[in-house]
Amino acid sequence: MKGRVLDDALLRLSTSDNVGTTVDDLESGTEIDADGRTVVLAEDVPFGHKVALEPVDSGGEVRKYGEVIGTATQAIEVGEWVHTHNCESTRGRGDRAAARGESA
């Protein structure tokens, strides 16, 4: 597997990533040793989902695979679940083009 599994719980695919992927169903309150820093899960996070390893400002980049996978729609704290409720795509956004009156 690419990347590194932190404390048997979170997979960090690249050192520049600010989210990790759970390798099991994890419960709220789970403490994970992430390279000396303790990440405490703020909520239950199912297998395969993402957890913030670093704080992300609203509008800030969310990084996985060493690449930008979207932007935060609100400030995200360490240990929070990162998904569609607080992170969104910047691509294929015809709705934005329509709002700007650019749609054909």
């Binding site: 597997m1 297998f47 969310v62 695979y65 690449e67 996978i69 569609t84 709705d95």
Partner: protein, 395 residues
């Protein structure tokens, strides 16, 4: 590990890993008869029923015809029966002739000329018997993995797809390319957000530009229609599986092609090159249509990764299912050939890739996949939509 297998050498030099007689309807109006004729004949006859109408705008019709012809030309097809109602814009004789150009036996069946479906079924049965006799003349002989075109696909993706199954299939593609074979992946909407990585791997500036152009066109479709890709990509199932954005899905999806240079990109259903290396095909994100495009392009074997548990196969090409999700493997191992979820227990991606490559060679040598055992043979042809035609006309 062996690098050779026994396949069916065709007169155009290509090698089939199966020796099916294909029964290819030119429209939805001939699909029921095609399926009935094939079912009646036996497992050696494989129908490719689809939903496309008897009449389509020109660019759409050309694409349909290309897929029908490519399907019949696939090396896994030993002989082909082309079935029409008789009112289609696409002429069954023309399709049959283009298939016959590869040197295999073909016949046509026109339901109206037969005098209706009952007669068509009995005439179809006679023609299939003749075609089977022709196909049976093919003998299995030694072939090398370098003669394989390996189509790779993902469907029902979740977070494990990009972490386990796709990179493992990619490792198998790397092995095949290293051995001189050809690998192909597709689904252009799933290049969005990862196209810069693909662009950097192209062998030529021309390929690089074409890929970026195709991605822009697919992304532009969303803009043109004033819609938000987020409703469809990632799908609700992908999202439940942990994928948040199309960028995240794409970055995981492209790893199934491996790490070798990208030699080119061909149109949907167009003939894939056979001289080795990694080649892309510009297809929609709908997995069944995407697999059909690559099989029409000449892929003899397909690998299909799934996190959430897709059961899709293909009538003509064996489909090797791979999952990276240990739960899906536990629940659905009767539909899945390779468990890549072992990477979560410490098996290396390269080791899983070696197992997939080994499976590829065994399947090419005749071992049936789970989808073949269960006759899971989904078939659908992508239809160019009116909005896309507008884009094509307007540039």
């Amino acid at each position: 590990m062996g690098h050779s297998f026994e396949g069916y050498r065709r007169s155009n030099g290509r090698v089939g890993v199966r020796n099916h007689v294909a029964v290819i309807p030119t429209s939805v109006a001939a699909s029921s008869v095609a399926s009935a004729v094939a079912d009646e004949a036996g497992a050696w006859a494989r129908a490719t029923p689809h939903q496309l109408g008897t009449s389509q705008p020109d660019p759409a019709r050309r694409q349909t015809e290309r897929v029908l012809v490519g399907t019949g030309r696939n090396p896994n097809v030993g002989a082909a029966l082309v079935v029409e109602l008789g009112t289609e814009d696409i002429d069954a004789e023309t399709v049959a002739d283009d298939i016959a150009a590869t040197g295999k036996a073909t016949e046509t069946l026109t339901i109206r000329e037969s005098g209706g479906t009952a007669n068509a079924l009995s005439e179809g049965a006679d023609r299939l018997d003749r075609l089977k006799a022709e196909a049976d003349r093919a003998r299995r002989e030694d072939a090398d993995v370098s003669e394989l075109v390996f189509g790779v696909e993902c469907g029902g993706s979740d977070a494990t797809s990009g972490i386990a199954a796709n990179p493992a299939v990619g490792a198998a593609c790397d092995r095949l390319v290293e051995a001189g074979g050809t690998a192909s992946f597709s689904e252009t909407p799933e290049f969005i957000g990862a196209e810069h990585i693909l662009a950097d791997r192209c062998v030529s500036e021309e390929t690089r530009e074409r890929i970026l152009e195709r991605v822009e066109a697919r992304e532009g479709m969303a803009e043109l229609m004033g819609v938000d890709l987020r409703g469809a990509q990632p799908t609700p199932g992908n999202q439940e599986g942990g994928l948040t954005t199309i960028e995240e899905k794409s970055l995981g999806a492209i790893s199934k092609g491996g790490t070798t240079p990208i030699r080119g990109i061909v149109d949907y259903g167009d003939e894939l090159p056979t001289n080795g290396g990694l080649v892309l095909m510009d297809t929609p994100g709908y997995d069944v249509e995407s697999v059909v495009g690559k099989v029409a392009g000449g892929a003899q074997v397909v690998a299909f990764t799934t996190g959430r548990g897709s059961t899709t196969g293909n009538p003509l090409a064996p489909v090797i299912k791979v999952t990276g999700n240990p739960k899906t493997w536990d629940r659905m191992s009767n539909n899945i050939d390779v468990n890549a979820g072992t990477v979560f227990d410490g098996e290396s991606i390269d080791s899983v890739g070696a197992r997939i490559f080994e499976t590829l060679v065994e399947v090419a040598n005749g071992r049936r996949t789970e989808a073949e055992h269960r006759r899971l043979e989904e078939f659908a042809i992508n239809e160019i939509q009116p909005e896309e035609l507008t884009v094509e006309v307007d540039g």
